[in-house]
Symmetry: C2
Subunit: 187 residues, 2 copies
């Protein structure tokens, strides 16, 4: 599989014991399939938004012969977990000292803020310095509101982010982090 | 705008006072834009799922030169309203006596059932006999569980469905129906 809708550069391939040569999208898709199979949550990646310009009718099916990529105005993943709406995105950076905010579009930030205001949970999964971090939308918005910086320092992610456990099933157990943050027993 | 990802046949164009020459998808997109603008709900149509096979690099942007349509395994629209997860689809039929169930894929029915089980609201918006009906997922599943028929009779839709009011803003006020069914004051 190639992912021409992403950037030209090679994808990071994560080669720990638990995940051999998969990129972040594949790891999340497998995790979501597992959650679905276990009837734990219903979470899907949204298809890549495109504008279709030309279609021809093949013998068996219609074939798109010209289309353009559109900038998404929402985040890539959404669904329902424990009756609560989830809306999130996955990002990766090779930068070791900070996460560049240009990775998140202005309307995506607005979307995160709105989701939280409506009672949903919004967050980013960030791959950085060989770890997968859960960074809650509330932290991201707080950082942006109190900083003029164009990138989030790694120290902020280490302090406010939570490392997502890598397992066989699911590959990235990010719902476990949500359990800790939002559905802790005794709350 | 053409919609080659739909069937070959012409779209119904609804030409009441409130909506001049728009198809169901356009009416819903405008309604959702209005809800978003009014900060009432965050609901988007998912992009058409496609499998990209060939991409070339144009001067300014990447161009998809070969892609295929995929069958969606979920419903087209989802989001959050009053803290609750919504997941629904829009269908239209020119059939006057019944709504053919072949309009809904098997995995879409499974998805509706699962969404409801997880605490979300799932439904169909059906355009039939010049009305837009809200038909709750619970009714659809109940019909399928108690009938062998391959279509839902119009009488069932008239009895169990709720007519969606057509207005200027929003074009189709389906959230009003949800208010009546799920968020009625005094509940």
């Amino acid at each position: 599989m190639n992912y021409p809708n992403k950037s030209k550069k090679e994808y990071n391939k994560f080669t720990s014991y638990a995940n051999r040569g998969m990129n972040l999208e594949e790891l999340l898709n497998q995790s979501n399939e597992y959650y679905l199979l276990e009837d734990k949550a219903i979470i899907y990646k949204k298809p890549t938004p495109i504008t279709i310009s030309e279609v021809k009718y093949g013998e068996k099916e219609r074939i798109i012969t010209k289309a353009y990529f559109r900038t998404p105005s929402t985040l890539d993943y959404n669904g329902i977990y424990k009756g609560t709406y989830l809306d999130f995105d996955a990002k990766e950076t090779n930068n070791k000292t900070s996460f560049p905010l240009q990775n998140i579009h202005e309307h995506q930030l607005k979307h995160m803020k709105s989701v939280i205001a409506h009672g949903g949970i919004s967050f980013l999964i960030i791959y950085m310095n060989t770890n997968f971090y859960y960074l809650d939308g509330k932290n991201i918005l707080e950082f942006i509101n109190t900083n003029k910086r164009k990138s989030i320092p790694y120290s902020y992610i280490e302090t406010h982010g939570i490392i997502i456990e890598q397992k066989i099933k699911p590959r990235l157990d990010y719902l476990k982090v949500i359990d800790e943050l939002y559905f802790k027993e005794g709350d």
